[in-house]
Amino acid sequence: MIRLRRGEPRAFDEIYELLRARLWSFLARMTGRRDQADDLSQEVWLRLARTAPRLADDTRLAAWLFTVARNLYVSQWRSARVAQQLVGELLPPDPIAAGPFEAAASTQTAARVERAIAALPPTYREVLLLCGVEGLAPREAAVILGTSPEATRQRLSRARAMIEQALAEPLGYPDGESP
């Protein structure tokens, strides 16, 4: 942290290498789009660079970065929702989008998990990604999400139940065909 505050490029590189993929994957799974994940991820890293000289010694960088990423996602989602309301009457509703990594999943199980995550409402998806995938404790995720630890635990419990239910359902094939 001290090296980063001093503006040492190598300190930034170490953090960037360590957290780049995790942060980008979180944003891609939240937005469902790679291009939006690119934009938001870039803004997160720029904000870290701008803020670095003023960061406190005890700042937990992973939590800080996920907080900024989540706040940027929420702002972008609100803007998109307003825009969608303005043109909503002109466009048909979107079908449930596939996850951004579903096509790249190496196994059928991975593809199903990606799809189940993508189908979750954003409030449940974010808590499951932070706690279930990133391994944050609910009290840490609560700080990022701006909620109480108890509310976070409840959301997490509900999100897990929704995923379990989605994964327990039999595979659906178009028009009742079997593989």
């Binding site: 503006g7 980008w24 994957s25 690119d38 720029l46 660079a49 701008r50 999943a105 998990v113 404790a137």
Partner: protein, 74 residues
Amino acid sequence: MTDDHHPLDDLLRAQLVAHEPAPAVAAATRDLALLELHHARRRSGWRYRLEAGAMLAAAAGQLIWVFGTLFGNR
């Protein structure tokens, strides 16, 4: 109320691997951020503040001179 760790988490971590942005995007983001880091560091330094203060003082002096020339008593 749930436990902090759940068996489902192991499945999620095993299946949901972290993906990378495109190499060109990752490199561009890094370069931009490093440039911003350099500027942020410079902005927070005493030398930059001194230079900025000197430039502001010089600009204020020139403004006063211009107003003095235009509207001052002769």
